[in-house]
């Protein structure tokens, strides 16, 4: 009987378990989880702060999931991988042998070496349930909150805390919010949706040093706070594989089978650097759908299947107070700006393919565009004039519709 070990207890780990079990119902699966709780929906921690969900509803899988899939969960962190002896050593010193290993260790907040940060007592990250619970307990109607980082994590944290604190200020060295996924005027729209709810922004500015409950900014501004949230960025947790001699490059290098450079060692999720179908280059795509699909691919291959996952693309759905921004792909090539009322609709065409899009406001049918990027559907094979304004099956051939509407897909 084969022994599978999965390092990590997040959604990539779940994908891996389900992938293994789709092939091998018998083998032993050991899951090492450093977080001390069964898998939950991490991206929902901001909704938890808002009171829109609770720990019970945040369960990613039912309580019986691990038992039903015959998994043994060990709530302990892995300390080392020995690829020669094919063992994983736990922090306790215990050694667990594997026939096939999946590293799904996720990512960790990146905290720059701010001067005086050690003097700040009330500082928090915003990645995990523990972070959210700590913040939930600390914030009060008299709290002034300073969030460092205007990316996806920092802004969802700001939304989650809206109405629960006296003030919320977000600062970022970048000149706009969500700089990794939005351009200038799109970013401004999303920023406004938060400003309308009282969130203040200090952009193009960063903290030079901290002292207890004060941030001294590069601009000379002085920001007082009761609670500091650090949401500067994340780094892939690739050190276990790196220290074992596996190839890492700010992320564990994986091929389209999710194999690392170490024999019988796979990786999936935010720790892995894999193929981005929208650019053809390798990168870390730290988004939940990618983690689940990579995990599943890894699991199938670990169990002896032959699965390829080469359709990962960057994509994000993020919203604040009902204003949604949906983005996918890369913003390379010719821009098609389509009127979208008070929102935005931008399609990018590159080399005869839809390479990316930004939709703000009306999200309807966005997946039709996403599928074109993922499947590399030539723009000239569809009625692009129609598709620009209305993402629908009507822009595709009658044959395609017969297949999708009349057959099992």
């Amino acid at each position: 009987m084969k022994q599978y070990v999965i390092i990590g207890g997040g959604v990539a780990s779940v994908g891996c378990i389900e992938g293994i079990r789709s092939v091998d119902k018998e083998g032993r699966i050991v899951v090492l989880s450093g977080e001390g709780r069964p898998v939950y929906c991490r991206p929902l921690i901001s909704y938890f702060l808002q009171g829109k969900t609770d720990p019970e509803k945040m369960k990613y899988r039912p309580d019986e999931f691990y038992a039903e899939n015959n998994c043994e969960v060990v709530y302990e962190k892995a300390a080392a991988i020995d690829p020669a002896r094919k063992t994983v050593t736990l922090e306790s010193g215990e050694s667990i042998p594997y026939d096939s290993l999946c590293v799904a260790t996720g990512s960790s907040p990146f905290v720059p070496a701010f001067e005086g940060l050690d003097t700040v007592e009330n500082k928090y990250g915003f990645m995990t349930m523990d972070d959210a619970l700590a913040l939930d307990g600390a914030v009060g109607p008299d709290s002034d909150v300073l969030i460092v980082g205007a990316g996806l994590i920092g802004l969802k944290c700001a939304e989650g805390l809206c109405g629960r604190a006296k003030s919320i200020t977000v600062c970022d060295i970048a000149p706009r919010v969500l700089s990794s996924i939005l351009d200038g005027d799109c970013a401004a729209l999303m920023q406004k949706s938060l400003e309308d709810h009282g969130v203040r922004f200090e952009l193009s500015d960063s903290a030079e040093r901290f002292n207890i409950n004060t941030a001294y900014m590069k601009s000379g501004k002085v920001l007082r706070f009761d609670i500091l949230v650090l949401a500067v960025g994340v780094r892939p947790n690739d050190s276990l594989v790196g220290e074992a001699g596996g190839v890492c490059d700010r992320g564990i290098r994986v091929d389209t089978h999710m194999r690392t450079s170490l024999e019988d060692v796979y990786a999936a999720g935010d720790c892995a650097r894999g193929y981005d179908a929208s650019t053809g280059e390798d990168r870390v795509l730290a988004i939940l759908p990618n983690a689940v699909m990579q995990g599943r691919c890894a699991g199938i291959n670990m169990a002896g299947g032959d699965e390829v996952f080469d359709k990962a693309i960057p994509m994000n759905a993020i919203g604040f107070f009902g204003l949604h921004a949906l983005t996918a792909g890369s913003y390379a090539g010719e821009l098609h700006e389509v009127p979208a009322g008070e929102g935005v609709k931008r399609l990018y065409v590159n080399g005869g393919l839809l390479s990316g899009f930004i939709l703000i406001g009306d999200a309807a049918g966005a997946g039709v565009y996403t599928a074109m990027i993922r499947e590399k559907t030539p723009v000239d094979s569809v009625d692009f004039g129609l598709l620009r304004t209305s993402p629908s099956m009507a822009a595709f051939s009658a044959q395609y519709r017969r297949k999708t509407l009349g057959e099992v897909v």
Binding site: K59, Y60, P289, G367, V368, A398, R401, L405, G406, V408
Partner: protein
Amino acid sequence: MKRVFVNEEWCLGCHLCEYYCAFANSGLADMARALKDRDIFPRIRVEDTGKVTYALSCRHCTDPLCVKSCISGALTKVPTGAVCIDKDKCVGCYTCILVCPYGAVTAGEHGAVQKCELCLENACGSPACVRGCPNRAIVYEER
């Protein structure tokens, strides 16, 4: 499993399926109270370009991207093969709208998204759109 299939050559573009769907999922016994003078939120939608008209609802894919992409665990493929949504778990993030290749998941009335659940979750018991289609352009069968 039985699914809803659409034959666009027979679709009249009458939109009756939308009304039957919205009524079946309203939870109300009176059609006028459910539909008259109200914004309706059907899970099946007639797309009509003037040249082409057809009804579109969830394909209940064998390997659904929406389920794999759902950040809240609200979308699941139940043992019968149907793709279902737990509206209590859904936070309305729209990731499923971002990934559904057919545009079959849509924004719902109360924040959560909505999609066809084959009327297995409501009092109807089998797809109301199929029963109401006057030209049998929409069918519910095994293929």
